[in-house]
Symmetry: C2
Subunit: 131 residues, 2 copies
């Protein structure tokens, strides 16, 4: 068997990693159709769980993800996609990475450690839930 | 609110990344108890979905993960844990990373690109499903 096992799980989690810097950008999901479109176009397409439809990353913001490499894990139920992040930011809040808050194990407090690349208000016409 | 929102989702996906090399090692899950244990001990504890119990990574193989940094994503439903991977391998198949197979977008074929660090037969007493 090759690739993710969509018979086992309809949606597989997908880790997007910047292929040049190694920074982990985000986690989202693909169904079979999103996976096929990603392979065919070379641009990452996810499946949005909240909107229940294909989510062509960057369609609204212009911040596309170009595929550099696709890897599948030992259980064939998770993907790692190394990408070139167009526009420099993956997160809808304008940060390079969605993982922009660090947790202090001692206090549980969060601190913003990420780098803001754009102002969401100027990129998105109106506030959307999620990405 | 600080940290992952376990009220929203009982299990949150957790990306483990080698804090020194940036290599993405694996994806697993935490419930609230696993998260609390991880913060308290500084060693990564997951929740095994297949065994439905806390999974102290490395308990059997010796390949522990020491926490370097914990980050939470914009939706508070995914964690990124930067770790020091003891023993050099995160995958139960003996590879540094669980993502050791690369998919060729043109043919869908897989090729092993990962580096095998140990022989699972000598590390695990008997073959176990999953990790």
């Amino acid at each position: 068997m090759n690739g993710p096992d969509f018979d086992k799980c309809e949606l597989v989690p997908v880790i997007a990693q910047d292929g040049d810097t190694g920074e982990v950008l985000m986690l989202a999901y693909m169904n079979r159709a999103a996976y096929e479109e990603t392979l065919q176009t070379g641009r990452v397409c996810y499946f949005s769980r909240s909107r229940a439809k294909l989510w062509r990353k960057g369609e609204e913001s212009g911040n596309y993800q170009e595929v550099q490499e696709i890897l599948v894990d030992c259980d064939s139920d998770t993907l790692l996609v190394k990408v070139r992040q167009i526009g420099g930011a993956a997160c809808h809040e304008g940060y390079r990475s969605c993982f922009f808050r660090r947790i202090d194990p001692a206090t549980r407090n969060e601190a913003v450690v990420g780098q803001r690349v754009f102002d969401p208000a100027t990129v998105y016409a109106k506030k959307r839930p999620g990405h």
